[in-house]
């Protein structure tokens, strides 16, 4: 019996070795591809047509959709930054998704909005709309007040009322850089194949010093909190090599709902954002892939590495845990709701490579990692793993993690260098090392919990409370 158990454990140990070997090879490929793509992109920017698109009739109108629910501390910053976008034709539609605090009143008072009657046609079904608010002085701002139905419902409501061929979804706690909209649009305008969705980079706003207007970045600083620093390194890794890599392989399955651009007609055709999903952005992308591939139409979903949207990150373990569980649960839901794509040649590389990758490595990854820790301990306890091996493999895993984080920070250095001080560089590198001791494991546990939630049929949206960054603005003004 003991021999069989030992054999099984040994087999599992080898399995883990091979599993992480494959996973890390994939990461290495993505990193290498991302490095070349980003360098090429930076070269192309030197002769880019971005400025000319400002005056070009080819630049299509865009609607910025900002869904809000109890966001009174942060919403004004988000709306103001959206209105300050440097883009030829755009409108901002803010959708109040049944806020119970003073969010709606704050927006009405600040922008001196008046109630207006609008015809509301439900191309996509939504919860009832209570009213529309508008001010002729800010003609490109419309606020919709509706009953609570969730973020997807709010986005669908915005789509129903929008008149532009493209819409950009932006979170209520975000700060859009002035040129972010035109930058996210450029690949779409320069593409020979219709781009139906594209995403930009999301960065963490905590630590930033804003000027008096509350939307202009005065100074980029790193936050003091350890948890936020870990997240900054994580975001750099996720956006600068993960998404760039997948994008260049034409296999992008995730765009951040915080800042993404969509072709309205495609989203409507695909049925709009799915209500009840905890991660509406990812599910939408997976469904767009399914829809377009089924129709056999050429299309692209792009990630662009230079438009930037700053957003607030949770600064305590409880909120971060909620966010990460929600993200992972959303990923699992999105994949399983579109499971017909799995190993289905009709869906090309998405069906044959990307969806299986997400199931095997992203969804099951945390399970294998957590089980791996357990089995290593058991292996050691029953004497089939030597201390030397244990230490060596532990060092290997940690060094690989450090390598990926360092490479991401290097990519940031090589390209955008948004963290200019020497202190920033060393701090980020240090946290790139430290995150491997506890933070990474904690993330795996949250993702493991999300899988359990999914298996138990729990689909609740775990709300993350936003603190707002007014304090940063005040500091900036006082100084």
């Amino acid at each position: 019996m003991k021999t069989i158990l030992a054999a099984l454990i040994l087999f599992f140990n080898y399995f883990i070795g091979v599993y992480f070997g494959i996973l890390n090879t994939i990461y290495l490929v993505l990193l290498t591809v991302a490095l070349f793509v980003i360098l090429r992109h930076l070269e192309r920017i030197k002769y880019s047509t971005r400025k000319e698109f400002h005056t070009s009739p080819e630049t299509p109108p865009v609607t910025i959709l900002i869904p809000m629910h109890n966001e009174e501390r942060v919403i004004l910053r988000s709306i103001r930054s959206a209105l300050a976008s440097e883009y030829p034709f755009f409108e901002v539609i803010v959708i109040n998704d049944g806020s119970t605090d003073g969010t709606m009143q704050k927006v009405i008072d600040t922008f001196r909005l008046k109630r207006i009657d609008r015809v509301y046609r439900m191309f996509l079904a939504t919860k009832p709309v209570k009213g529309f608010y508008y001010n002729l002085e800010t003609p490109n701002l419309l606020v919709i007040d509706k009953e609570n139905g969730g973020k997807s419902d709010a986005l669908n409501c915005g789509i129903n009322i929008s008149r532009s061929p493209y819409f950009c979804s932006v979170d209520a706690d975000s700060l859009l850089e002035k040129d972010a909209l035109i930058r996210i649009m450029v690949p779409l305008l320069e593409s020979n194949v219709p781009v139906v969705a594209s995403g930009g980079v999301v960065r963490i706003i905590n630590g930033l010093r804003l000027s008096d207007d509350g939307i202009t970045i005065q100074e980029i600083n790193l936050p003091d909190k350890t948890l936020l620093l870990f997240q900054i390194v994580e975001y750099l890794r996720g956006f600068l090599f993960g998404r760039v890599g997948w994008d260049s392989l034409r296999a992008l399955l995730i765009l951040s709902g915080t800042f993404s651009l969509f072709q309205k007609a495609t989203v409507v055709e695909a049925g709009g954002f799915k209500v009840g999903n905890v991660s509406e952005d990812m599910e939408m992308i997976v469904r767009i892939h399914r829809h377009m591939l089924k129709k056999g139409k050429p299309y692209r979903i792009r990630f662009v590495s230079d438009p930037i949207c700053w957003t607030e990150a949770p600064d305590n373990i409880k909120m971060l845990g909620r966010q990460r569980r929600r993200w992972h649960l959303g990923l699992i839901q999105s994949i399983f709701q579109n499971k017909e794509m799995m190993f289905n040649p009709q869906f090309g590389r998405i069906g044959m490579v990307v969806v299986p990758y997400y199931i095997l490595f992203e969804i099951l990854g945390p399970v294998i990692e957590v089980l791996g820790y357990l089995f290593v301990i058991i292996s050691y306890a029953i004497g089939i793993l030597s201390v030397d091996f244990l230490i060596l493999f532990l060092i290997l895993a940690i060094f690989y993690g450090v390598f990926l984080s360092t490479a991401s920070i290097f990519l940031e250095e090589l390209t955008f260098r948004r963290y200019p001080k020497w202190g920033h560089l060393f701090k980020l590198l240090l946290y790139g090392v430290l995150e491997n001791f506890g933070y990474r494991q904690l993330n795996s546990v949250w993702r493991f919990q999300a899988l359990i939630q999914f298996l138990c049929g729990i689909k609740k949206w775990e709300h993350v409370h936003k603190k707002g960054t007014e304090a940063h603005t005040k500091v900036a003004t006082n100084e």
Partner: protein
Amino acid sequence: MQDNVIIIIVVATIAALLLLIALLFVTSVFRRVYNKRKYRKLDDLREMFNKKLRESLASGDLLSTQCEFIAIPQSDTWQAIEDVLLSLISEERHQHEVTKLFSALGYVSFHEKQLESRNVQVCALGLDKLGKMKSEASVPKLIALLDNEDPEIVSVAVRSLSKIGGQAALQAIVERMPAMLDRSIVTRKAMGMALQAFGADAIPYLVEQKAGQDNLWVISCILDILSRLPTDPRSVRLAAEYLSSMNAEVRSKALKVLGQADNARADKNLPVLILPLLRDPIWFVRLQAIRSIRALGHEGAAEPIGKLIGDQNWQVRNEAAQALIVLGAQSLDIFLDVLMGTDKYAKESICEELEKTNYSGRLIENLKARDQQLQVKSRKILEIMHSLGFSTPHIAYLEQEGDVAVKGLIRTMMKTGPVA
């Protein structure tokens, strides 16, 4: 034995990773130090050469002092001088001298050499720089690249040619128009933007290019570009000729050309030419016809546009409602007709526009007008608006300080309920 092999592999991997981490770290630090020094030096050089070049330009002996500005290609000094000259060339008074200096200092020949590179980015960068330098001597080389296979190179070449300007560049682009339209969306967009940059100079070439052209796609593009250029009688003649084209896209673009507001002053008969297209079977032609008539302004337009309030296409309905609002008082009867009708969609479109443009406020003001007919019509419209749920302007008026009699009328119409 097997364990030893595994240990060796793992240790080697760890060592490699450690080496890579150290390498990335050192490169990051080194790059920062290098860039900091480089850009500080570049800033100093730019400042120095900006002063020197401005002084030389002011003294008028720039070309005689040019030896001061000769630098080794791609050195920091070379880059700083290029940056300064590129900023000076945007000032029109210096353009001629700076262009000459670019050539004399070897920048033009350096970037022309880049055009021979197999690397698309190097070639595109060279093209871009030559365009920014307005190097007329490089035009033939840029034209040659218009036939390149790569759409990126063609796009940058077209853009640079438009920056340099001149007949040869313009003619070359227009001649290659059909090929560029066929090649890719990217080259098509670049060409459209470039021809627009040529301004009125492009008009005769575009009009001429049309001659002998039976490709309607090309005609449509020509008309589209003409609609973005200043108004010109030649454009108007060409557009008028294509109003009856079999191709809807061409008809729509012809309408766009005719709908340029400046044309209204030159030719009073244009709206009459456009009016029949309000009945076009294709929705986007009707839409463009409304837009053009609205831009030109025409007294007799209210009635035919009014008929489109009930159009089967919502974009046409909305456009018609907006046009009628602009036409003002002459549209009241049409509004009333539609609002008394049974088409809910059309009625809602009008109400929405009346409220959005604050025309409803004018209607409320009309309630105290001396003109009895105007008063009655306005009241009727306001009653119907209320019955359709567009009561916010009514309520807003009641809540603010206003005419007591008007408030009384509004209260009455709100009490009596639906009329339509």
